[in-house]
């Protein structure tokens, strides 16, 4: 058994070494990008790569799949225990729901699709595969994870990270002008039998929002208002006409003139009042959006972190050093095994 494993790991380390080394430089680049980009104020940030720091504000109330907590964004992963007592992640998923971020001077809408999300303390639970709690069992069933029966043969680790209302975040991403938005009231009436709204789904996909929360909202008794942002310039003309304008009360809201700020003139940011949770808050925040932050097309770095900027930099520095050292060492070890094996084989001949 050992005879088979050693060459396997040697080959693996020989191949992984250069990849780890290259990833070290990628982390170095991200760290440099964070260092070189000063934190901008949301109300006056320029389009392009920006770094902002602010508070998360929910756009749509979603429930984290494992804990059931109300949050603005969630990310989960499932890992199985390997024979060497380490964990291998077998499933990863995030909510993708856009949320607002406010720094007291303005509000930006964040599309978290494609981001690298860092939260300090994930909620984590390890369970034996044969007796999983109902919430995990249900999640795997809903997601259609057909390998779940195989995974249940070993222990499983369920990890959940969330961004909640009021949490401080640091974001490095690409700012784009606020896009025209669709404001749809009472989607319940036009929902099909399964609760979905067919023509709205491409709009939601453009925002990174899945139709599932809409279905839940549409089906729920309290569902009365959902405001998904979209790219109507490209998508709207193709959308079929509204089934009943009176019932739908749908309208396109195009970007208006910038919100006139009442902040003091000395350039000192006065915290703008954030409306309390309740009806009309989403619309009020939508009206104040200065820009949209998302993964850029030219600059793919997109980081959302509940850790401070310094903590992220430190962690990236350690990761860079580790990878730049580990890469050559792994390659050398793999190479050493094969070279000595081949020379020993050659000598015995």
């Amino acid at each position: 058994m050992i005879r088979l494993e050693v060459p396997f790991y040697a080959t693996l380390s020989l191949c992984a070494g250069p990849i780890v080394f290259a990833r070290g430089f990628r982390d170095l680049r991200t760290r440099r990008l964070i260092q070189n980009t000063p934190t901008a104020r949301i109300r006056s940030m320029a389009m392009g790569l920006v770094e902002v720091s602010g508070t998360v504000l929910e756009r749509s109330v979603i429930l984290a799949p494992f804990t059931g907590h109300e949050c603005a964004y969630w990310e989960v992963d499932i890992a199985v225990r390997t024979r060497r007592d380490s964990w291998t992640v077998v499933h990863r998923k995030s909510s993708g729901n856009p949320f607002f971020v406010s720094d007291g001077t303005g509000v930006a809408l964040v599309y978290p699709q494609g981001s690298q999300c860092r939260t300090p303390s994930p909620c984590e639970e390890v369970c034996p595969g044969h007796s999983l709690p109902e919430c995990y069992e249900r999640y795997m069933l809903e997601q259609g994870l057909w390998l779940r029966h195989a995974w249940k043969l070993s222990a499983l680790r369920f990890r959940e990270r969330t961004l909640e209302e009021g949490q401080r975040v640091f974001i490095l991403g690409s700012a784009e002008p606020r896009t025209p938005a669709i404001d749809v009231s009472s989607p319940v009436e036009a929902a099909t039998a399964d609760g979905s709204v067919p023509w709205l789904e491409p709009e939601l996909a453009a925002t990174g929002t899945e139709p599932a929360p809409l279905r839940r909202l549409a089906a729920g008794p309290g569902a009365s208002h959902i405001v998904p942002a979209a790219r109507p310039t490209a998508v709207l003309p193709q959308a079929p006409p509204l089934p009943d304008a009176a019932r739908w009360r749908a309208r396109a809201v195009y970007a208006t003139t910038p919100h006139v700020s009442d902040a003091p003139r000395a350039g000192v940011a006065r915290p703008a009042a954030i409306p309390p949770r309740g009806p009309g808050r989403v619309q009020a925040l939508h009206d104040r959006i200065s820009a949209v932050i998302r993964r850029g097309t030219n600059e793919s770095t997109f980081l959302i972190s509940a850790e401070s900027e310094t903590a992220v930099e430190t962690s990236l520095e350690l990761s860079t050093l580790g990878k730049l050292f580990a890469g050559p060492v792994l390659t050398a070890l793999g190479l050493a095994f094969w070279l000595y094996s081949l020379s020993a084989h050659h000598l015995t001949k």
Partner: protein, 192 residues
């Protein structure tokens, strides 16, 4: 070739590649920072242009009400004209500060015209210019942050060697006018 020698050669290759890649990352970082400075300067210009365009509208709205305040109008027009001719960070900063001061005086004088203060167009323009001033202040701070990062980087080891080879020199910060640093005399006249 002995296996040991091959391993040493591979490790040396990693060291060479690592050194070159690190030097390139410093070079690219400095170039990006230099361009960031140009970009943040241009981003201030965008707002200045917007403010510049609002001034004729403001004068047009106000001239009917403030016919006896020729000096204030002249000062505003001079500051606006001076701004169009300047070059360089320091000169631009001076001209900007002059215009900001002239605008401050203009709005202070406008306070004594109740009819003007009730005019919706004036209020909108005042709000718009106020907003632009705030944004300009934010972007100046951002520019200064970018310049500070650049100036720090080109004086740090090992970046200073690459910066020296590229002949990069420290950039000028956008400084506040001496006039704005003067203490404001505030007097409270308390009646007994």
């Amino acid at each position: 070739m002995h296996p040991g020698e091959v391993i040493v050669a591979v490790l040396a290759l990693f060291a060479v590649i690592g050194t070159i890649a690190y030097a390139l990352s410093i070079y690219n970082g400095l170039v990006a920072l230099k361009n960031n400075i140009a970009r943040s300067w241009a981003n201030i210009d965008v707002l200045l242009k917007q403010r510049h365009d609002e001034l004729p509208k403001l004068i047009k709205v106000c001239e009917g009400y403030m016919q006896h305040e020729r000096a204030v109008f002249d000062k505003l027009s001079e500051a606006r004209a001076a701004l169009a001719q300047v070059k360089g960070v320091a000169q631009r900063a001076d001209a900007e500060n002059q215009l900001t001061r002239a605008l401050g005086q203009f709005f202070a004088v406008a306070e004594s015209y109740p009819d003007l203060k009730a005019n919706q167009s004036f209020l909108q323009l005042q709000g718009r210019i106020s907003e632009l001033e705030n944004n300009i202040a934010d972007r100046r701070e951002f520019y200064n942050d970018t310049v500070t990062t650049f100036n720090t980087r080109i004086q740090q080891i090992p970046d200073m060697y690459v910066a020296g080879w590229l002949q990069l020199t420290p950039h000028e910060l956008f400084k506040v006018d001496e006039h704005d640093r003067e203490d404001v005399a505030v007097e409270f006249k308390m009646t007994a």
